[in-house]
């Protein structure tokens, strides 16, 4: 039996709502607040208020994998070098959390993955240290330099930092959020990525989706709209330019190799071909979250115990 693609995609979005994992979400928030407080306590006047970046801030998260990023903006004079900043924050977090979490250096962040709690839940938070460009300038321009941990190779040759305005990155997707529910498409592509073991960075998918919305007239049902984005990626991923909204000199398209781009293009092509051939395949490309099966709502209704006027009792609200 053919699958109703629009309904299915809608169910996928529903079953991946972060609100379904309220418990885990709350655990993440509590840990994040705790880390935030610890950083402020440790660095005092050297640090501005840490803020959320990542998909939570952008409203594009899915509940299968939380990516909680905490941006830690330091003052220019807090550290002599970006490397010192990165290592200092790492050392601090390692000392504080090594008995309760795996703490490791990542490309631009320090990953803290807490050991599973008694319910088997794992909280993972990435702390991204950044330093303002000049003393007190952050308040004016929101710009920060990030340190690129060298084990992962140089991102841009000749520099060990990325200059980025993370606030602008977050704002970018927030600003674009109205257009025909762009964020829905980003969430769906994330679902595809997570379940199909694919590698493109979420940031890349976000930017190319925004670009697709920029270039195309995106309309119709949920599938038609998603398909437009997929087709756009298929046809343009190898050539498209995706400047970082946080730093126009940073070309995010360069973060993927030509080879990875053409693999992504092939993925998009195969996916459309298969789904158009047989709508049922949409269910494996975009699966529901098993943990939160979408109930059949067709029998739900505003029921009445009997056809008679209802007289509500006096009631107190707060």
């Amino acid at each position: 039996m053919a699958t109703d693609k629009n309904k299915h995609l809608n169910d996928v979005l529903t079953s991946h709502k972060v609100s379904k994992e309220q418990d885990l979400l709350d655990k993440h928030k509590r840990k994040r607040d705790e880390i935030c407080d610890a950083l402020v306590e440790k660095y005092g006047a050297d640090i501005y208020s840490p803020f959320n970046s990542g998909s939570f801030a952008k409203n594009t998260a899915v509940n299968k994998k939380f990516d909680f990023d905490l941006m830690a903006p330091f003052k220019r004079n807090a550290f002599s070098t970006l490397e010192n900043m990165f290592n200092d924050v790492y050392d601090f977090l390692l000392e504080k959390y090594s008995s309760s979490a795996h703490v490791r250096k990542q490309k631009v962040s320090i990953g803290i993955e807490f050991f599973a709690d008694d319910k088997g839940d794992i909280v993972k938070i990435d702390v991204v240290p950044g330093r303002e460009l000049n003393q007190d300038q952050y308040k004016e321009d929101d710009k920060l330099n990030l340190y690129v941990y060298s084990q992962f190779g140089k991102l841009q040759s000749g520099s060990d930092y990325i200059r980025s305005n993370i606030k602008a990155q977050v704002q970018n997707i927030k600003d674009n959020a109205d257009r025909a529910n762009l964020r829905q498409k980003v969430r769906l592509l994330k679902v595809w990525k997570l379940y199909n073991n694919k590698t493109p960075k979420s940031f890349f998918l976000e930017l190319i989706t925004i670009k697709a919305f920029d270039k195309l007239e995106i309309s119709g049902g949920l599938w038609d709209r998603l398909k437009s984005v997929i087709e756009y990626i298929r046809d343009n991923v190898t050539t498209v330019s995706l400047p970082d909204p946080g730093n126009s000199n940073n070309e995010v398209a360069d973060s993927m190799s030509d080879y990875e781009k053409s693999a992504l293009s092939d993925d998009m092509r195969n996916m459309i071909n298969r789904i158009e051939e047989n709508s049922d395949y949409i269910k494996i490309y975009f699966p529901l979250n098993d943990k939160f099966p979408v109930e059949d709502t067709s029998n739900n209704k505003y029921d009445e115990r009997k056809v008679a006027p209802s007289i509500p009792p006096p009631t107190r609200f707060g």
Binding site: T297, N300, K301, Y302, P312, P313, P314, G318
Partner: protein, 156 residues
């Protein structure tokens, strides 16, 4: 204004005029809470609730943080509406949260649950509109009681 909750597949429609009326009533009591009951009907398939009007209570107690609606005179009014053409019924409640977000408090949830389970109430899924109110702005939160849980509607 049209809203729905995807998870349970139920819809809600309410006119802008009525929302304006509610806002004005709320502002008259600002910064204290205020509220009333919602009148309307269900679509033939019972998937959509149409909120058509509000009845304001003649007896109530209110403060900055709470509102207690009385029921004086409601029975007569609701019976008249039920027998009218078209027939209108009680579909839920609204109240304001002055200078606060339209999120349901524990009291709100208990209140709505109590209504849904009350023997004089025949509908199983009463709705709750909370109006986050300031003199300059209004933020709306629509909720419904459905099978022992509270769900929030979203615009679509």
């Amino acid at each position: 204004m049209k809203l729905r909750n995807e998870e349970i597949g139920l819809f809600l429609e309410i006119s802008d005029d009525l929302l304006r009326t509610i806002r004005e009533s709320g502002l008259l009591h600002y910064p204290k809470e205020f509220g009333g009951i919602l009148i309307g009907n269900y679509s033939t398939d019972k998937k959509i609730v149409n909120v058509i009007d509000t009845l304001l209570p003649t007896s109530y107690k209110s403060s900055k943080f709470s509102f207690e609606r009385g029921s004086e005179g409601l029975k007569e009014q609701l019976e008249t509406l039920f027998n009218g053409a078209p027939s209108l019924i009680y579909v839920g409640e609204w109240h304001t949260h002055p200078d606060a977000q339209p999120l349901p408090s524990g009291t709100d949830i208990m209140g709505l649950t109590g209504i849904a389970k009350h023997r004089d109430v025949n509908i199983t899924s009463p709705i709750l509109l909370i109006v986050g109110l300031t003199p300059a702005s209004m933020e709306l939160g629509f909720y419904v009681y459905f099978k022992d849980k509270i769900y929030r509607y979203e615009t679509y």
